[in-house]
């Protein structure tokens, strides 16, 4: 998988950042060939599954790439101009997971560097406990992403709903803890944290927020003839 992810990350690193011209960026992405990752091999693509490229979509999040890279990959594979809402939501979830990883990494590193009261603030239990909560939420977002991507390019409504509901619901807490740990520097225009949390908030709402998808999961659960939550959850894996 590193053979797939490594060159992709290198390419993204060369065209990420706020001063990059969007035309130049898109040209580099297109020339990398990755936009055909999901296209079947018979049609000249790499023939990968959505699960295979989930780490690539997370990488897009980690570099805060706002160009529609994942969407274009899916459109090319399906040969369509617009994607259905369930698939669009799942692609957003994978980006949320990547952004969440990046924001956690920034927060951990800031907490280890920033000295107050004569020691790094990461040594303070109040900060540690908050970052632990953030770590938990990042883990939820990551698993939500894997669950969503496990069903390929034609996910069921219920699977997309579970995935996006949970991922969107992690956003307010992740952003809020990241900013609390960073203090005032985090809310400046100049400091990069805001680029990531801005994108995170946008993707929380894109293609339906946690409330929209909660309604869909709830409807499916209430109308299901499965007696127990365990049975219902097992049925999602098979759908």
């Amino acid at each position: 998988m590193d053979e797939l992810l490594g060159p992709f990350e290198q390419m993204l690193a060369s065209v990420a950042g706020r001063s990059v011209d969007s035309v130049v960026q898109w040209k580099a992405i297109e020339e990398s060939g990755y936009l055909d990752a999901l296209v079947p091999e018979a049609a000249g693509g790499a023939g990968l599954s959505l699960s295979d490229i989930e780490p690539l979509i997370r990488a897009l999040g980690r570099f805060a790439i706002t160009a529609p890279v994942a969407e274009t990959m899916a459109k090319r594979a399906l040969g369509v101009d617009t994607l259905g809402r369930p698939l669009s939501a799942i692609l957003a979830v994978a980006e949320i997971a990547g952004l969440a990883e990046k924001i956690l990494e920034m927060s951990l590193s800031y907490a280890n560097d920033r000295v107050q009261f004569g020691k790094p603030i990461g040594k303070l239990q109040v900060i540690q406990q908050q970052l632990a909560v953030m770590g938990e939420q990042v883990l939820m977002a990551r698993m939500a992403s894997q669950i969503g991507c496990a069903h390929g390019l034609a996910p069921s409504l219920e699977v997309a709903a579970v995935s996006k509901q949970v991922a969107s619901a992690t956003v307010p807490q992740i952003a809020s803890i990241a900013h609390a740990v960073h203090g005032a520097i985090g809310i400046t225009e100049e400091f990069d944290l805001q680029r990531y949390t801005r994108r995170l908030h946008a993707l929380r709402l894109a293609h339906g927020s946690e409330g929209y998808w909660a309604n869909i999961v709830g409807k499916a659960r209430l109308q299901s003839d499965r007696q127990s939550s365990v049975e219902f959850i097992l049925s999602l894996r098979k759908s």
């Binding site: 990883e101 956690l104 951990l108 907490a111 280890n112 990461g122 040594k123 239990q125 900060i127 540690q128 406990q129 970052l131 632990a132 909560v133 770590g135 938990e136 990042v138 883990l139 939820m140 990551r142 698993m143 939500a144 894997q146 669950i147 496990a150 709903a161 579970v162 509901q165 949970v166 619901a169 946690e210 409330g211 998808w213 909660a214 309604n215 869909i216 999961v217 709830g218 409807k219 499916a220 659960r221 209430l222 007696q227 127990s228 939550s229 365990v230 049975e231 219902f232 959850i233 999602l236």
Partner: protein
């Protein structure tokens, strides 16, 4: 900590195949159990049920066949336990023995000890309790003061354990005690002993919980004489052994399913009412969270199956699970009381209030929330 260690994992089909049989066994036994008892899940027990599970081969699933086990992996146990907890089956009698004591005996015990204890555990006839906490040692477990001294015939044990769930039903306790040095020596000089709870000098007193249920006990050791082979594992290695035991204790699906019976009873109530978007959303958000937590729990079990000790991973999932489990009674009580015009089965209310009151335990037992978050922070490279 690398989050790549917890990835979506498949349960092998050979393990999934256990589901219909365990469902059948559960259905045959819980027909008459009232909701509030099922809602106690692994805090409630029934020896008849435990023996039936043993007979059907559902105990000691991961133990070698020669000791009465099924020689399967941790994911087989996940399937069985998931069904048990989801239904609220009375697993409390054999719970500790099957979840951790048997594994610790298998890992650290002598051949004679394995032969003495494991077959009876697998038959659902021998129950264990945990001997960790003491009046002066809660989260700070290394400060235990109970002490065993070498004698001609074995060991002489003095001291006290507390918050000992199920000691009044259990045949044995695996106790963490000091066998050399002083409390100031911290995790040096500790050992694990297999304590026969019928031995003279042991007094077990109930500590009723806030629901009036008898789960907790305090256990006193007054010059208790134990044989040489009461020592489990290596003398002085108690701390590393207890760390391994805690990994078994923290990593299971019981850390996400404690409120599942209650959740399902409430969902059945909501399904009978006129459609309402606000409660549909609540059903949806709780179901979605549980679905993701479930896959995280499977992922932790897969690490165990791969022979690892996923201490940080288990802590992350246990804290997430406990937070979820604790939110359930509070959110659904608000939902029901927001619809005062509806008639609600009094049994449902009883169960909600029982779980509401005991829910603080979810983030105390098996390591407090604050201790777990400390482990997570260290695992992420802080400190």
């Amino acid at each position: 900590m690398n989050f790549d260690h917890l990835t979506l994992s498949e349960i092998p089909a050979t393990d999934e195949e256990l589901r219909p049989a365990i469902r059948e066994l559960i259905a045959a036994h819980i027909g008459n159990m009232p909701l509030y008892k099922r809602a106690r899940t692994w805090m409630g027990g029934d020896a008849v049920f435990s023996r039936a599970m043993g007979q059907a081969g559902f105990l000691g699933l991961t133990l070698p066949r020669k000791y009465g086990g099924a020689e399967r992996g941790p994911l087989a146990r996940f399937v069985v336990v998931e069904e048990l907890l989801g239904a609220g089956a009375p697993v409390g009698m054999h719970w500790i023995a099957d979840r951790q004591s048997a594994l610790v005996i298998l890992k650290f015990g002598t051949e004679a000890q394995r032969e003495q204890y494991l077959p009876k555990i697998c038959r659902g006839e021998m129950y264990f309790c945990i001997g960790m906490s003491e009046p002066g040692s809660g989260s700070d477990l290394a400060s235990v003061r109970s002490r065993a001294e070498r004698t001609e015939n074995g060991w002489r044990l003095n001291g006290q354990k507390v918050w000992t769930s199920g000691a009044h039903h259990a045949h044995y306790m695996i106790a963490l005690v000091r066998t050399s040095g002083e409390p100031a020596d911290r995790n040096q000089g500790l050992s694990q002993l297999l304590v026969d709870l019928n031995a003279p000098g042991i007094t077990i007193r109930p500590v009723p919980d806030l629901n009036g249920d008898h789960d907790f006990n305090e256990v006193f050791f007054d010059n208790v004489e134990l044989p040489h082979d009461a020592l489990l594992g290596e003398e002085g290695a108690g701390w590393s052994q207890v760390t391994a035991e805690l990994a078994y204790e923290r990593s299971g699906p019981e850390r996400i399913y404690s409120s599942a019976v209650l959740l399902d009873a409430w969902i059945q109530h909501v399904a009978r009412q006129p459609q309402c978007e606000a409660r549909q959303r609540l059903v949806g958000s709780l179901t979605a969270q549980l679905a993701v937590l479930r896959e995280l729990s499977v992922a932790v079990t897969s690490r165990l199956a791969a022979g690892e000790q996923p201490v940080v991973e288990a802590s992350l999932v246990k804290d997430l699970g406990a937070t979820f489990e604790q939110s359930v009674p509070s959110l659904i009580a608000d939902d029901l009381a927001s619809h005062p015009e509806e008639s609600v089965d009094p049994e449902l209310w009883h169960a909600i209030m029982t779980v509401t009151h005991i829910a603080p335990a979810f983030s105390l037992r098996g390591g407090t929330r604050e201790i777990l978050r400390g482990i997570i922070a260290r695992g992420m490279g802080l400190r």
